[in-house]
């Protein structure tokens, strides 16, 4: 299988080492704890393992079995075949972090192109080589802001429209900071306007975090908002859905300081929540405070263009306890998938697929608005997701929809009790008009049946 040693290999090797048996290699291990009897199943062959895993996978209902209207931070999009074909190449799959640039130009150039694509898409000046996911990228943006003010500004203002799991992650990361106040997300009105946050911004505020489209699907222009926050000297970060930027004004044009986001829509399978891709882009003035790896262009002795990891002096292995982030391994291969996806779709494809999402979601909303017992309550422009008030609790509806082979939208009352009976409906290019019509009629049927 995966270990090649024959008995004669082992005895020749032991002889060279000067030992009699394999057990002699482990004499430093305290004897009473040596060779535990592990309560694990017996080994199985590759063929049996595959069958076993297939059996487990078959217990699940997947988006192959159901029409998917669930989003809330992870979206069911079509992934072109070429993406997987590239990222399963052993040369990319089985390489390490490119510490030795002469034998890692493939990975390095791909990251450089990834940085370029993300900068282009967000309208920002620089992007890092990736972060774990949208939630941890948001937490790292707060770390950047906190250190930018040397710990002297102790308030983070987070929009209620920032993904609740991103906010929870930020709270986890900062639990050791006793003077820090994290405010804004608990506005009692159902779906407040982010302009309400401006009342909370003061000279103690390090960062204001909004989302675009926000958790409720809403989109708006943040230009004036950013100006007003900047008047108080605080930074503005925005978490984005990168697919939406195929048709929406990029956040760089709002003047924001940091753009983070969940890169999953860019050719990454749903895979029950991970691995995904944390996007992180910013202005050049913050580049030395940026967490994570960065690839820069340079030349070799003969003047040939090449790429290296750069500004490594910011990182944990050099600065050790003075580093502001400990990130080491990031999402290399997933960033490569996004790079291939964005290259394939390009300028026209990304706009087209964003348009398909926008139009289909609006078509669905229009159909619901014609019904008596349903109301689209996210009363503002949206991208591919909207809030639908239903006549019954969403959890009940979703259980019934499974009989129609439909995965209904997210139950917002789980995070926001005041949004009782509110479903966050996501519509992507993966569904047709007929699918949407079937969803609308099925939803009507389960609520009245």
């Amino acid at each position: 299988m995966f270990i090649p040693h024959s008995d004669s290999d082992k005895s020749e090797m032991l002889e060279k080492i000067g030992l009699k048996s394999i057990k002699d290699l482990f004499k430093d291990v305290p004897e009473k704890y040596r060779y535990p009897d592990l309560n694990l199943p017996e080994a199985i062959s590759e063929m049996e393992a595959l069958q076993n895993l297939k059996d487990l996978a078959d217990v699940n209902f997947s988006t192959d079995d159901m029409l998917c209207f669930m989003g809330a931070g992870a979206y069911n999009h079509y992934i072109p075949a070429a993406v997987d074909s590239i990222i399963t190449r052993g040369e990319f799959l089985t390489a390490y972090t490119p510490y030795q640039p002469e034998v890692s130009q493939g990975t390095l150039q791909a990251i450089f192109e990834y940085q370029s694509l993300i900068a282009a898409l967000t309208g920002m000046e620089v992007s890092n080589a990736s972060h774990y996911d949208g939630a941890t990228a948001a937490a790292e943006a707060c770390v950047l802001a906190y250190h930018n003010f040397r710990g002297k500004r102790n308030k983070f203002v987070l929009s209620k429209g920032l993904h609740p799991q991103y906010r929870e992650t930020i709270q986890t990361y900062f639990q050791g900071y006793e003077n820090l106040k994290i405010v804004g997300f608990d506005n009692p009105s159902q779906m407040p306007n982010d302009d309400d946050l401006l009342n909370l911004v003061d000279l103690d505020t390090a960062i204001v975090y909004v989302q675009y489209p926000d958790f409720f699907g809403r989109i708006r222009d943040f230009t004036k908002f950013v100006e007003q926050v900047h008047e108080k000297g605080a930074l503005v970060a925005v978490s984005v859905n990168p697919m939406a930027l195929g048709m929406l004004k990029p956040p760089g044009e709002f003047g924001v300081d940091i753009v983070t986001g969940e890169g999953q829509p860019l050719g990454i399978p749903l895979s029950f929540g991970g691995p995904y891709l944390g996007l992180f882009a910013t202005k050049k003035e913050f580049v030395r405070k940026l967490a994570g790896r960065l690839v820069g262009e340079t030349v070799d002795k003969e003047g040939r263009k090449g790429y290296v990891l750069t500004l490594t002096a910011r990182e944990q292995h050099i600065r050790r306890e003075k580093a502001t982030s400990n990130i080491c391994t990031n999402q290399g291969l997933i960033a490569l998938a996004a790079t291939v996806y964005l290259s394939l779709l390009g300028k026209h494809g990304l706009e087209q697929v964003a348009r398909l999402n926008f139009d289909k979601a609006h078509y669905a909303a229009t159909q619901f608005n014609q019904l008596n017992d349903f109301e689209v309550v996210s009363n503002s422009p949206f991208f591919n997701e909207f809030v639908l008030k239903c006549p019954l609790p969403v959890e009940e509806i979703n259980a019934l929809l499974l009989d129609y082979d439909i995965l209904g939208g997210y139950d917002l009352s789980k995070d926001y009790p005041e949004l009782e009976n509110c479903m966050l409906v996501a519509v992507t290019e993966a569904v047709s008009k007929d699918d949407i019509d079937y969803f609308v009629s099925s939803l009507q049927e389960v609520c009245h049946g």
């Binding site: 895993l53 069911n76 072109p80 089985t94 986890t172 390009g346």
Partner: protein
Amino acid sequence: MVEATIFEISSPGRIGVKYPESDVPSFELPAELERRHLPLPEVAELDVVRHFTRLSKLNYSIDSGFYPLGSCTMKYNPRINEVTARLSGFAKTHPLQPVDTVQGNLALMYELQEWLAEISGFSAITLQPAAGAQGEYTGVLIIRAYHKDRGDTKRTKMIIPDSAHGTNPASSSMSGFDVVHCATNEHGNIDLDSLRAVCDDTTAGLMLTNPNTLGLFEQGISEVIEIVHQAGGLVYGDGANLNALLGITRPGDLGIDIMHFNLHKTFSTPHGGGGPGSGPVGVASHLVDFLPCPVVGILEPASGDFPPFYGFVEPAKSIGRMKAFYGHFGMVIRAYTYISMYGKHGLREIAEGAVLNANYLMALVNKHYKVAYPRICMHEFVVEGHWPNAPEVIALDVSKRLMDYNFHPPTNYFPLIVPEALMIEPTETENKETLELFADALIKISDEAVNNPQLLKDAPHNTPIGRLDEVKAAKDLVLCCWIPEKEN
């Protein structure tokens, strides 16, 4: 060779994917939100496939050759893992689906939690952390929460041996601990007097890598743990080097309180050119309530023909959520596949093979390279890449010259306590002949260092590109091939 960037091969009007025509009416976006300029490349599918295929050929990888990068456990990544992780029943499930529609995912996660607990001797596991460094941060936050919960608020110091991974001190300071160092003795173990001197009632814990970054098993492990426990601190184990201990000993049995795993090292999930990793964390019984949320639990036990019903549970005093959703599920599937194929007896063969290979390779080269701490090593060993009679040659030159012999270099300049360190980890999946060829190359290079040092200084000679100007990269800071165009 130089490959043009994807932006440079772009040509207006090309597209790599065609989507269906819209079957719904078109709706209007408010004009102030419309994007006016989308500066992405325009290329056909073949352009994309060729471009990335050519790039891939500029990489060295495990699939193309020996990759003895110390501390990184570059073992073979079984292909079956790539098949199981892509089964549509797994890959096409949404993280927010009702739990009764994802019982297969939850059963797999629950079982892996149980297996990792059994392998390591811990009471409970979280699969949530995204990578080793995030696992460490999780562990450090748990240590913090544990002391706080006991009202023990004086504990502000984290002890870190000078042989620790770079992420350890960064993880500690991120959560507000002051880092205190302790020294290594002449045998490569933690110096017990140095440890005693820094342990007191302000000690939150010790971050211990065992085997340490010298590749040595901590000979005083029981005393080390006892000293820290006596002072009221907890012991964090960095599990990056767990490959040496599989089936040999269990960190939990040794008295370690908390440890992260690197599924992308020990359990063969591919490194992908820098991720994704996966860094589950195991804890002893007194820390179970502090695990991040959620963890997978059994909500209703199995009865008759019915399997257990799985769901998510929140530990009582949880430190909170470390990331969105539940961890890198795709990596969890791969690790599960791998462990199931080794089973209860096979895991020990992994550690035995890794340790045998490291000691064999050390025996082949130890007359030509100074071994930092000459004793039986575990899965890796550290030598010095310099010689008294070759004054201008440094470890970096040895590494670069190894590329000319078609090998990936070892880890350079780590650990920091060994001058001109070359940290070599062969892993268990390499055969004897490969180790011998690598040793031959190292020995030839030690000879070249003395007789033809310029050959090393100018290396590599046979790679797609020569040594790169890193100073220029940091000074000029060209970080993207497209300069943002401001519009109004």
